[in-house]
Structures are given as structure tokens and as C-alpha cells.
């Protein structure tokens, strides 16, 4: 780049600019993201005696939490709920993503924004609304009873894993539509038309052309749903009822009520390992899939 002005000062200045631009954000994220995570990992190998934290290097906390059946129950419930929510979100989101990407014409921008908009409303308010809807005297029960489908309110709707799942499906649906939309709008219409020209039925066109080509979107959406579902705290805390605890609730309880930070930290590390394992698995899949496509 030949430029007027003194060349030497300019080169040193341009060389410095990238560092100066990145440094504040990188430092910030190290202090307020990397260090807190490192502290949790570090704390998980400390021990606690008489309510005091003592530096140590022990895996006893892990052994102790993994020996508690309640931990396994909570972990299983979290994983099951997250997996269920992911599958339901994929099924519910797919047709809408297809509609927006392929059939909505000039409305697609607006429709896409309208899908994501509820996601920006505070999670606490959305969950408060679901309590109005799902309660024993809530909107849904009143409607079902008014229609004469049942005489007594369905009590399992609120304060159960069912209500947690409904709340989570509602919360993550917009997140699943986005990557699906991106993947489906990358599929050329001519490929779909070609399959139809070759006398493939609509079902066959869908299962053999559209679905495989949108697989990256399905995987990305699934990872986000599953990872967020595993660690979600507000929805199970407000809708789950407290009889069957999810893993995140057990972690919070360990930290804030039992004040056993080392055990709580060990649980948090287990959660982190699960999150990163899911991420790594999907990255590997995406890399392999894009490698095949190339």
C-alpha cells in the first residue's frame, strides 16, 4: 500500500492498530470470562472444613458428588429434558423455517424477525406468562374444561418436568429456526425442481434432497438447544415445582443454600464437560460433513 506521508511512522502505526483494537476486548474476556471459569475449576479440587475453604488438590469432591444418587437423577433429568426439547424444537421449527426460506417471498425478512422477537423479551417475564397459562386455574386448563374435555384441571401442566419442557421449547424455538432458515435458503430451488422433474414424490424429494442438504442447520440448532437446555436455570426453577430437580438447580442449591462451594464447583465442571463434549462432537460432525461436500 503506497501512501503519502512519512512511510515509517505509518507502518508502525498500522502495525499497532490491530493489537490496540483487539486488546481491550481480549483482556476483558480473560478477566470476566476465563478467570471465573478457571476459578470454578480450581475450586472444585479444594476442600471444605468447618465451613472454610482450604486450598488442596483432591478429587474427593468429584468422588463424593458422583456417589450421590440425587446428582445422577438430576443429571439424567436434565439430559432427558434437553434431548426431548431439542427433538420437539427441530420438528416444530423445520416447517416454519422452510416456509420462511422458500415460500414467503418478500415477507421473509419480516417473518424471520417476528420469529426471533419474543426471544428478546426477558426470560423471567416469559416464564411468568407460562405460569398464567399452565396453572391449575390457568388459561389452558380453563379452556380445556370449558370445552368439556375434562372435569378436573390437569395438575401435571404446572410444576412438573412437563411444564419445564414446554417453557424450554417455547424459549428455544426461535433459536432453532435461525440456523434451519440459513441452511434451507442455501438449497437451490433448481435442485428441488430437478428432483420433481425426475418424478420424485414430494415426500421423496423432501427426504432425499431437502433434508440431507439442510443437515448442517439441523445440527447447529440441535447443539444450541441441547447445550442451553442442559444448563438452563430460570425455567425449571419457576416452572419445575421443585420436586424433581434439574442439574442446574442442584448446583445452585449446593452453592447458595448448602454453601458447599467445592462440591458445587465440581458439579459445575461436570456440566461444563458435558457442554464442551456436545460442542466438540458437533464441530467434528460439521467439519466432516463440509469436508465431504468439498
Amino acid at each position: 500500500m503506497a501512501m503519502p506521508g512519512s512511510p515509517r511512522r505509518r507502518t508502525s502505526l498500522t502495525a499497532l492498530l490491530p493489537t490496540a483494537g483487539l486488546l481491550p476486548l481480549v483482556l476483558w474476556q480473560i478477566v470476566f470470562f476465563v478467570v471465573p471459569v478457571a476459578l470454578i475449576v480450581g475450586l472444585s479440587v479444594w476442600r471444605r472444613e468447618n465451613y472454610r475453604l482450604i486450598p488442596d488438590f483432591t478429587f474427593n469432591n468429584y468422588a463424593a458428588i458422583l456417589a450421590r444418587p440425587a446428582i445422577w437423577r438430576a443429571l439424567l433429568l436434565s439430559a432427558e429434558t434437553a434431548a426431548f426439547v431439542t427433538v420437539v424444537c427441530a420438528v416444530l421449527a423445520y416447517p416454519v423455517a422452510y416456509f420462511i426460506a422458500k415460500k414467503a417471498g418478500r415477507w421473509r425478512g419480516l417473518l424471520l424477525v417476528a420469529v426471533i422477537a419474543p426471544f428478546w423479551v426477558s426470560i423471567v417475564m416469559r416464564v411468568a406468562a407460562w405460569r398464567l397459562l399452565l396453572g391449575e386455574r390457568g388459561v389452558i386448563n380453563q379452556m380445556i374444561m370449558a370445552l368439556g374435555l375434562t372435569d378436573e384441571p390437569l395438575s401435571f401442566l404446572l410444576y412438573s418436568p412437563v411444564s419445564t419442557a414446554i417453557g424450554l421449547i417455547y424459549a428455544y424455538l426461535p433459536l432453532y429456526v435461525l440456523p434451519l432458515y440459513a441452511a434451507i435458503s442455501n438449497i437451490h430451488d433448481s435442485w428441488i425442481d430437478a428432483a420433481m422433474d425426475l418424478n420424485a414424490s414430494p415426500a421423496r424429494t423432501f427426504f432425499e434432497v431437502i433434508l440431507p442438504l439442510s443437515a448442517p442447520g439441523l445440527v447447529v440448532g440441535a447443539v444450541f438447544c441441547f447445550v442451553f437446555g442442559l444448563g438452563e436455570f430460570v425455567t425449571p426453577a419457576l416452572l419445575g415445582g421443585g420436586k424433581q430437580l434439574m442439574f442446574s438447580q442442584v448446583i445452585q442449591d449446593e452453592f447458595q443454600r448448602r454453601l458447599d462451594w467445592p462440591s458445587g464447583a465440581a458439579m459445575a465442571v461436570v456440566l461444563l464437560v458435558l457442554v464442551f463434549a456436545s460442542l466438540a462432537l458437533s464441530m467434528k460432525w460439521i467439519r466432516r460433513a463440509s469436508g465431504e461436500a468439498a
Binding site: G21, I40, V96
Partner: protein
């Protein structure tokens, strides 16, 4: 559009799904106008009293103002951190770029619970910061990830030829930035500010852990959810939700229009 058509099934299904997405919002707005003091069906008459009542509740209004103030700070801070970083990431070769990206995007996938607890441990070293400063610092960490991501994609689509033209005409980096880059990305910058504000405003988990005696609006609602909820809460929530929707929709449409204009030849 392709020839594969599912007839009316697809549009009908989409209408039902949009109804599902907006059902909770409609319900909150509906109950905000209901005359009963314990919300439930059937609706018993129309009133706007709850709006007046919520504005008369000093604690509730105080938490709303706290939320607005803290979210404003977090939005400005995170945009200020994100903009130069996104510019460098999009335009310059960066050593260990994937590591930097992991660092920047990590807070998105990290469970909020874990970040919150980690920050609780961190702020044990600085107990004076617990409360409002800690909330701002934490929210800035979370929103700067989204802000960097959005600005990064905006800068990738930016026509570099404008910059080269300005530099060829003798403008230095600073003049180019002030006269060319800033005016062109200003809409994206405002959109990112608005979305960061919305995100920080509504965040609950991390704020709750770090709050001390501070009460943000999500924390106030959480506390009230433990008892029978007064319709005041729904009235205030209805207003906040409608403002949130208006802000986020206009910000996103703004981004959308901007990127469309850029991509047109």
C-alpha cells in the same frame, strides 16, 4: 420459489406456530387490563388501574430505573469493546484468530449459571463491586460476544473500496474512520447498541447472583413470582414487553435493510 408445494398446510401451520410464539405475550397484556386482583379466567372487565398502580409502586419503578441505567452502561461498554475488535477481526490478519474467536464467543455457550457462580467467586476478591458495578461488568461480558459477532459480519460485508478510495485521496486512518467508516456503519452500531441493551435489560441469572442489595426489574419479578402475583407486575411487564418488541424488531429490520442495500450491486 420451487415447485414443491404443500398447499395450505405450510402457511396454516406457520400461523399456528406464530400464535404459539405470541400467546404468552398476549396473555400478559390481556391480564394487565383485567379488573380482578388475582389473575385468572374468565376476564372480568376492563381497567387501566393496574398501570397507574404499578407506576405508584416506588420499589417496582425503582427496579425498572435501575435496570435501564445498568443496561445502558453495559450496552455502551460492550459496543465500545466490540467495535474495534470486530473491525480488526474482519479486516486484518490476526494471529491465533480461532483462539481469539473462542475467547470472544465463549460466553455465548457457557451456561449462565456457571458464569454467574464463577463471577461470584471472582468478586469475593473485590466485595465492594458486588451490586450494580458487578452486574454491569457481567452483562458487558455477555453482550459483547453478541455485539462482536454482529459487527464482525457487518464489517465483513463492508465495501473496502470506499476505504481505499479515501486513502488514495490522501486521508489518513483517522480521517477515513471518522468520515467514511463511522457514518456507513452508524446504523449497525445503533442496532447493536439497542440489542445489547435489550439483552442486558432482561438478563436474570447472573444479575441475581451478583446483585447484593440491588434490585433489577427481572429480579423484582422473580421475587414477586414466589408469592401471588399482583396484576401490577403484569401491567408493567406488558409495557416493557411491547417496548422490547418494538426496539428489537426495529433494530433487526434496520440490520436487515442495511445488509440488503450493501449486497445489491
Amino acid at each position: 420459489m420451487n415447485r414443491l408445494s404443500f398447499g395450505w398446510a405450510l402457511p396454516t401451520y406457520s400461523v399456528v406456530l406464530y400464535a404459539f410464539l405470541y400467546l404468552p405475550i398476549v396473555v400478559i397484556v390481556l391480564f394487565a387490563f383485567d379488573a380482578k386482583s388475582i389473575p385468572g379466567l374468565p376476564l372480568e372487565g376492563f381497567t387501566t388501574d393496574w398501570f397507574a398502580a404499578s407506576l405508584g409502586d416506588a420499589r417496582l419503578v425503582g427496579s425498572l430505573l435501575t435496570s435501564i441505567r445498568l443496561a445502558l452502561l453495559a450496552a455502551v461498554l460492550s459496543t465500545a469493546l466490540a467495535m474495534p475488535a470486530a473491525m480488526v477481526l474482519a479486516w486484518r490478519p490476526v494471529r491465533m484468530k480461532s483462539l481469539v474467536l473462542c475467547l470472544v464467543l465463549g460466553p455465548v455457550v457457557l451456561p449462565q449459571l456457571v458464569l454467574g457462580l464463577g463471577l461470584v467467586v471472582l468478586f469475593r476478591a473485590a466485595p465492594d463491586l458486588v451490586g450494580q458495578p458487578a452486574i454491569v461488568l457481567a452483562h458487558t461480558t455477555m453482550t459483547s460476544s453478541y455485539a462482536t459477532l454482529m459487527l464482525y459480519s457487518r464489517f465483513l460485508g463492508f465495501r473496502r473500496s470506499y476505504i481505499e478510495a479515501a486513502m488514495n485521496l490522501g486521508a489518513n486512518e483517522f480521517v477515513t474512520f471518522r468520515e467514511i467508516i463511522l457514518p456507513l456503519i452508524a446504523p449497525a452500531l445503533i442496532a447493536v447498541l439497542l440489542l445489547a441493551f435489550t439483552d442486558a435489560f432482561g438478563e436474570f441469572v447472573v444479575a441475581w447472583f451478583l446483585a447484593g442489595f440491588t434490585e433489577t426489574l427481572p429480579i423484582a419479578i422473580w421475587t414477586s413470582l414466589r408469592q401471588v402475583i399482583s396484576p401490577k407486575i403484569y401491567a408493567l411487564s406488558a409495557v416493557v414487553i411491547l417496548v422490547t418488541l418494538a426496539v428489537s424488531v426495529s433494530a433487526q429490520i434496520w440490520i436487515l435493510g442495511q445488509s440488503r442495500r450493501e449486497s445489491e450491486p
